[in-house]
C-alpha cells in the first residue's frame, strides 16, 4: 500500500493526478471553511450582484440570482463525491458477489446471473439511469439508486472474468482438495486475487460516477435546485452563452478537473498493480 503510493508520487503525471484528487477531496470536505459564501449553496437571492463576470470576491463570477459560483462549485463537489462513494459502496459488493457466484458456481447460476447482467449491460448506461430517474422522483437518493443500477453489472462482468480464470489455478484446486467450503473458496481464496482489478476500477469509477451524475442533472434528471450541482449549472448557463461564459465554463472545468484527476490516478494504479483490462 505504502509502496504503491511512493511509486505513484514519483511519476509526474500520477503525482499531478494525486494533487488534483487531493484538491477536489479537500475542497469537498472543507467547503464550509473555504467557501467565501457558504450560505450561497441554498436558495439565496442577491439581485444587486447577479450574473457578474469574475471579480473580487466572486472569483468565478455570480450566477443568475447573484450567488457566488465558486462557493457553489465547492458544495457541488461535496455532493458529487458523496454520491460517488455511496454508489460504489452499494454497487461494488453487489457486482462482486454476483460475479464470484456466477464465475465459481457455474451451471445455471452462471447462466441466470450473467444473462441478467447482459440485460443491464445492453441498455446504454446513461439511458438506463435516465429511465429509472425519470420514473422515480428526481431526488439525490433516487439519483444514487439509478446510477447504482447501471453500475453493478460492470463489476459483475469484471469479477466473473477474473474468477473464471482463477478457478483453474492450482491454489483453488488445493483448497478444494482439503475440503474448504465454497463460500470460503469464493471469498477468501479467489476474491483477494480480484482486489487489484477492483481497486483500480473503483478509482477510475469515482471519476466516472461524477461524470454520469452530472450528465443526468444536465438533462434535468438529477439533483434539483437549489442544491448546487455541476451538471445543472452547465445546463442553466448554456442558455446565456457566450456573453455569460463563466456560468458554463467554470462548472465544466470543475467536472473535467475532478474526473481527470481520478483518471490519472486510476491509470497509474492500473500500471503499478498490473491489472490491465
Amino acid at each position: 500500500m505504502k509502496r504503491t503510493f511512493v511509486i505513484l508520487a514519483s511519476n509526474p503525471m500520477s503525482l499531478f493526478g494525486l494533487i488534483l484528487v487531493g484538491v477536489v477531496v479537500f475542497s469537498a470536505v472543507f467547503a464550509d471553511f473555504i467557501a467565501p459564501f457558504p450560505e450561497h449553496r441554498g436558495a439565496v437571492v442577491d439581485f444587486t450582484n447577479f450574473n457578474q463576470p469574475p471579480h473580487w470576491p466572486n472569483i468565478f463570477g455570480t450566477d443568475l440570482v447573484g450567488r457566488d459560483l465558486f462557493s457553489r462549485i465547492l458544495y457541488a463537489y461535496r455532493i458529487s463525491l458523496m454520491l460517488g462513494v455511496v454508489v460504489l459502496a452499494i454497487a461494488v459488493p453487489i457486482g462482486v458477489t454476483v460475479g464470484l457466484a456466477a464465475g465459481y458456481l457455474g451451471g445455471w447460476v452462471d447462466f441466470i446471473l450473467m444473462r441478467l447482467t447482459d440485460v443491464f449491460l445492453s441498455i446504454p448506461p446513461l439511458v438506463l439511469a435516465m429511465a429509472i430517474m425519470g420514473l422515480l422522483e428526481p431526488t439525490l437518493t433516487n439519483g444514487m439508486l439509478a446510477v447504482t443500477a447501471m453500475w453493478w453489472p460492470w463489476y459483475a462482468r469484471l469479477v466473473y472474468n477474473v474468477t473464471r480464470s482463477e478457478a483453474q489455478e492450482g491454489y483453488v484446486l488445493a483448497a478444494q482438495i482439503i475440503g474448504a467450503s465454497r463460500l470460503h473458496i469464493m471469498f477468501m481464496e479467489i476474491l483477494p486475487n480480484c482486489v487489484p482489478s477492483i481497486v483500480t476500477k473503483m478509482t477510475l469509477d469515482l471519476g466516472f460516477v461524477i461524470l454520469i451524475a452530472s450528465s443526468l442533472s444536465f438533462l434535468g434528471l438529477g439533483v434539483q435546485a437549489p442544491t448546487p450541482d455541476l451538471g445543472s449549472m452547465v445546463a442553466e448557463g448554456g442558455n446565456y452563452l457566450p456573453d455569460s461564459w463563466w456560468l458554463t465554463v467554470f462548472p465544466s472545468l470543475a467536472i473535467l478537473i475532478a474526473v481527470f484527476g481520478f483518471n490519472l490516478v486510476g491509470d497509474a494504479l492500473r500500471q503499478v498493480l498490473g491489472s490491465d483490462q
Binding site: 444473462r115 445492453s122 439511458v127 435516465m130 454520469i212 450528465s215 444536465f218
Partner: protein, 343 residues
Amino acid sequence: MSPVVRLLAKRLSISVIVLIGVSMLIFTIARVIPGDPARIALGPNATAEQVEQLRQRLHLEDPIWVQYGYFVRNLAHGDLGVSLYTNRPVLTDIAQFLPATLELVIVAGIFMVCLGMPLGILSARYRGRMADNLIRVVSLLGVSAPSFVWAVILMLLFAFFLPLFPIAGQISDTIPPPHRVTGFLLVDSLIDGNFKAFFSALHHIILPAFALALSGIGQAARLTRANMVETYDKPYIEMAESYGFAPRRIANKFAFRPSLIPSLTIIGLDFAAMLGNAFLVEAVFAWPGLSRYGVQVILRKDLNAIVGTVLVISAMFLIVNIIVDLLIAYINPRIRLANGGRT
C-alpha cells in the same frame, strides 16, 4: 462461411433473449413506481372519470404479468402503444426523431475510429517517447469530461469565439431540406442531388459529432495503444523486425491487426454508449434528434414512450454489438475458420 453464419445465428438468438429481458426489466420498473401514471399523464385538472378511463385503456387494473402480456401481443404487431405526450403512436415518434440521432452517432463513430485508432498506433509505435506521452494525456483528457462539457467548450471556441461552425441545428434555415427518404439528412440530400443541402448538413454535423466522439477517440486511442504494446512483445514482431520490415509497416500491419481483435469489442461498446451520450450533445446543439423527445417523455412519465424508446435504443445497441462480432470474426481467422485445429 458457415462458421460465421452459425455465429450470427447464435448472437441473434442471444440478442432476442436479452431484448426480452430488457423489455421485462424496463416494464417492471415502469409499473412498480409509486404514483398513478394515468393521473400524472392527465395532470391534476382531469376528472376522476377521465383518469379511470385511461387506467382501463392502459390495463393498469390488471396484474403486472397480464399487462406485460398485452404489451408483448402489441409488440408482435409492431405496436409500442400511443405516447401520452404526443398522442401519436410511439413508433411513429421514434421513427421521426431516431434518424437524426443515428446520423450524429454514426459520424461520431467514424471520427472515433479514424482518429482514435491512428493515435493509438502512433502512441504504441513511439511508446515511452514524447509523442506517446502527449497522446496519452490528450486521450485521458478526452475521456475525462462528459460530452456535454466538450459540446459547450467546442461551441464556445469554434462557434462563438472563432465562428467557423454554426451554433445549432442540423441544416441552415435558408436552405430547403431534401425530401425525406431515409431520414438521414446527409444521405437524403445526396439522393436529391442537392449538394448545397449536403454541405450545409455536413457543416452542421461536424462540431456536435466531434464533441460526441471525443471521449470515444480517447478511449479508442488508449485501448489500441495498450493492446499494441502487448503485441509488440510477441515473437512474430521480433521476427518482422529481424527481416527489416519498415517500422511503419510493422506498426500498421503486423502489430495493429492482431491487437485489433481485443480492442474491437470494447470500441463497439463505446460506440454503443454514444447512443446514450447523444442525448447530452443534442441538448447543447439543439439537434432535432431523440434527445428532447426522450427527456420530455421521461419527465412526463409517459410509460409507453419510455418503454418504447429504451427498447429501440437497446435494440440499436445490440445490433452494433452483432456487427462488431462479425467484424471480429472477419479479422480473426481462428473464428472465421472455426475448425481451426491447433491453437
